[in-house]
């Protein structure tokens, strides 16, 4: 519904604004115009995945970039970014959305250890999220984190036995999404998902 709404509002934004004004409606450019650009770009994605109960679409070809200053994330806008259509800044990342076409192969190329911090679109919330490069895995009681690491030849980053949860990264020759899918199909884990950060915490 969100995608449809965003697209609808993009195409009728001017008339909708006029109508809303006459109707004492709300004017919310933050929720509509910006995200509609992201939504249109995400339509090109061939990678769709679930994380923390939400569904995400990989934004083709792009990935978050560490800002020059960790504190002062680069200030961007929908205009003036060269090839980028739009960019957001979240925490230490800048999130440029370029006008890429993509294929399954190119998406995979960007999903290995050399290209962490890809970005994805959440159709429900209309927000973009950073793909951290970690796989969050709840392991079944019969297998521990190290066994899973060895079995799938993935790197164990951290293990929290009290939660039966471990975090992994893939090697340069592996694909994040394919490995996650394999984990879920293996019967060795309770669940595995690509970790994303959508809502960054900020100091209050």
């Amino acid at each position: 519904m969100k995608l449809l709404t965003a697209m609808y509002l993009t195409f009728i934004s001017l008339s909708a604004s006029a109508s809303a004004s006459a109707n004492a409606g709300i004017s919310d450019t933050l929720s509509v115009n910006v995200n509609s650009i992201v939504a249109l770009q995400a339509q090109k994605s061939v990678i769709v995945f679930k994380s923390n109960s939400d569904q995400y679409q990989l934004i083709p070809g792009d990935h978050a970039k560490l800002s020059v200053s960790v504190f002062k994330a680069q200030t961007k806008s929908p205009q003036g970014l060269g090839a980028a259509l739009w960019a957001d800044a979240k925490n230490k990342f800048s999130l440029p959305i370029a006008n890429h076409e993509t294929t399954l192969q190119s998406a995979v190329t960007f999903s290995n250890i050399n290209h962490y911090d890809q970005i994805a679109y959440n159709e429900r919330t209309g927000a973009i999220a950073v793909i951290t490069g970690q796989i969050l895995c709840s392991y079944a009681s019969n297998y521990d984190a190290k066994f899973i690491s060895e079995h799938f030849d993935i790197k164990l980053i951290s293990d929290f036995p009290h939660l039966k949860t471990a975090f992994y990264r893939v090697h340069p020759w592996q694909d994040l999404f394919s490995i996650t899918k394999s984990l879920n199909q293996s019967g060795l884990v309770a669940s595995a998902e690509v970790e994303v950060i959508e809502n960054f915490a900020m100091a209050n």
């Binding site: 919310d28 951290t132 009290h162 809502n199 100091a203």
Partner: protein
């Protein structure tokens, strides 16, 4: 001058039994009708801290004795005698050596002896810390606070509680572990840097370190001659710079899931997210919170304290640009733009959510309202027209909030030719800190004192004591009503008193923390009095898909029945609503006892975002009530925008005993 009556034996003699080097009043042989006193040495105490000395008195016929204590300087130290204890109370702002003369009289004759009490060195900026002792000071702003609008902590300090032995984690963006007013309280090699994966979370940025300022409010070292004083001036500190690297695994590690955080008693979280559409808490992070309250502190549970948010006017910040609700709805904001329930980590019972108060004892302008607030504590304003908080800053005049990147909002924070204000020459302190980020460490400090007073308290005991001992503030605050299609709609209720007798307000939770009262309650608390904690399963509605009347104060009401009896400690509601502009939706919940709680006020930060999807809200307003019976939810579309939504379904679950 204080006249003290004390029944003692006729033969008057006093022995003040001190600890090494303290004054001793020794009996002196002589006329049995004449009280005789003698002293050896002097005594010491910290500023604001009561000194007690034991007295051994002997007399022969039980005459009443009167004691008089005179101090020089006048009235800087007062005294009282009870039983065998002489209590010396220095004035809260006094430091130095006072000459004290104690006179004992049997009515006919008396004897006076003189000794000294040295009140050890001041924390020079303590005088500006209105949250500790509000005397109406400005803290360099242009207006004053109101005397006594503080957290009543001095009596706890005076009684000797300083947070010693309690470990508090500052989960933030950094912590300058070498700061002159923090380093003595740092746990050596106890912190963690999530950026460099090392033991030093000192912030490398120059424009102020939030965590360092937060830490100072909690545990600036006391009586060391520099800076101010923390609420718990001897608490032990660890710093985890989670905000700099927010991987889920780092959340788990910082909140008690790693070896370096296993021993933490209190986690201070002065941060939050401000999503503009409904979001859900990461299930792994939620599992860590549950694990923390279940297993840490030897099973008594760590205490998680979190700031409620600074979003009463502010919607969110993108690209360093602040967006306000007024820009969405085209009118002055009278309701909270963000709601504490919008940050999903606020909507779990394991976090104690804190709102902010001014030096006048009212809600800070920015403090986010919401039913998931538990309590309030000082957070101040901005330090220009109204007082902010005095606390630690990044060290040096070339960095920090007082320095090259300074918040030169007032003269204390101003820097000239590389030198700070005369009371802040090295620019190590900041008088403009504000926010619920300040309220959280003040509460964390208070809880550190409580845990020192009674280490057996569980995390739920702490919440219970806070709810029972907090002070109602702003009692005359009226409800906020808005016009919905010609009808008045109460969009933010006034204070309510629930059927268990607890007063609650979405601005304040149960009120302002009263440290002295909390300490007293902690000391006398009966362990296990709350019973076993448990959670009901979700009670789910059917698939409803009912229309929410557009622009109608009547709204849509529907009920669910809860049959599982519990004494309520918290209530969660999960809801699914389809609506093109979810920010115009209000959600109320009424308990079987008739208590109403506004879970989500209308005209909020969700604005034109679609739908509320598995949106979880928490209310503390029903604390102590019975869960059994019919719960009613009311959904109101408060705005004339031409859109009609539907309530798809909702669920409720109860946390309690």
């Amino acid at each position: 001058m204080y006249h003290l009556k004390y029944l003692s034996p006729f033969i008057v003699s006093l022995i003040l039994i001190g600890c090494g080097g303290e004054p001793v009043l020794a009996p002196t042989a002589g006329d049995v009708n004449v009280p005789t006193l003698s002293f050896i040495g002097s005594s010491f105490t910290n500023q604001g801290v009561v000194k007690t000395l034991n007295i051994s008195a002997h007399a022969s016929n039980g005459e009443a004795l009167t004691y008089t204590l005179i101090s020089d300087p006048v009235n800087k130290v007062t005294g009282s005698v009870s039983g065998t204890t002489l209590t010396l109370t220095p004035d809260i702002n006094y430091s130095g050596t006072a000459t004290l003369t104690l006179t004992a009289s049997n009515g006919a004759k008396d004897t006076s002896k003189t000794f000294t009490l040295t009140v050890v060195e001041n924390d020079p900026l303590y005088q500006y810390q209105w949250h500790l002792n509000n005397s109406g000071q400005t803290n360099f702003a242009s207006s004053v606070g109101i005397a006594s609008e503080d957290i009543n902590v001095d009596c706890a300090i005076a009684a000797g509680y300083t947070g010693k032995g309690v470990v508090v984690a500052i989960v933030d963006e950094g912590l300058e572990i070498a700061h002159e007013d923090l380093s003595a309280n740092m746990v050596v090699n106890g912190s963690w840097d999530f950026v460099g994966n090392d033991l030093d979370p000192t912030n490398q940025a120059n424009d102020g370190d939030h965590g360092t300022s937060v830490a100072g409010l909690l545990a600036s070292v006391g009586w060391n001659g520099v800076g101010g004083r923390g609420v718990a001036p001897s608490a032990s500190l660890k710093g985890f710079n989670l905000i700099k690297n927010q991987l889920v695994s780092n959340y788990v590690s910082a909140l008690g899931g790693a070896s370096y955080s296993f021993d933490v008693d209190i986690f201070n979280q002065s941060y939050g997210s401000s999503p503009i559409s409904s979001s859900t808490l990461n299930t792994t992070v939620e599992a860590q919170y549950l694990s923390g309250v279940t297993s840490l502190r030897g099973g008594k549970g760590a205490v998680y304290i979190k700031s409620g948010g600074n979003g009463f006017y502010k919607r969110t910040t993108i690209n360093d640009v602040v967006h306000y609700c007024s820009s969405i709805y085209g009118q002055k904001t009278v309701l909270s733009c963000q709601n504490t329930n919008m940050d999903p980590s606020n909507s779990i019972p394991y976090n104690i959510i804190v709102g902010a108060l001014t030096a006048k004892g009212k809600k800070s302008s920015y403090s986010t309202a919401g039913s998931s607030l538990w309590i309030s504590a000082p957070g101040g304003e901005y330090g220009v027209s109204e007082p902010a908080m005095m606390t630690t800053d990044q060290s040096g005049c070339s960095r920090g909030r007082t320095g090259a990147y300074g918040h030169s909002y007032n003269r204390f924070n101003s820097v000239s030719a590389g030198t700070g204000h005369s009371e802040n020459l090295k620019c190590n302190y900041d008088s403009t800190m504000s926010g619920t980020s300040s309220s959280a460490p003040i509460l964390s400090g208070a809880v550190a004192l409580m845990l020192e007073a009674n280490p057996s308290l569980t995390w739920r005991d702490v919440k219970h004591i806070l709810a029972n001992t907090s002070d109602q503030v702003d009692p005359g605050l009226s409800a906020t009503t808005i016009n919905v299609n010609g009808a008045l709609y109460m969009a933010e209720p006034a204070w309510v008193t629930n059927s268990a007798g607890y007063k609650f307000h979405n601005y304040y939770g149960f009120g302002r923390v009263n440290v002295g009262a909390a300490i007293n309650a902690a000391k006398s608390y009966s362990q296990g009095s709350l019973g076993n904690f448990s959670t009901t399963s979700w009670v789910n509605s059917a698939s409803l898909s009912q229309l929410i009347p557009d622009n109608s104060a009547t709204g849509l009401s529907t009920t669910l029945s809860v049959n599982n009896h519990k004494v309520i400690e918290a209530v969660q509601v999960k809801i699914n609503i389809l609506h093109r502009n979810s920010g115009v939706i209000a959600i109320e919940l009424t308990s079987p006892s008739g208590t109403k709680s506004m879970l989500l006020n209308p005209l909020n930060a969700f604005g034109g975002s679609d739908d509320l999807t598995n949106f979880v809200m928490l209310s503390n307003a029903f604390y102590g009530e019975s869960s059994t019976g019919s719960w009613t939810i009311k959904v109101v579309d408060s705005h004339p925008a031409a859109d009609v939504g539907t309530l798809e379904n909702w669920s409720i679950r109860i946390f309690g005993h």
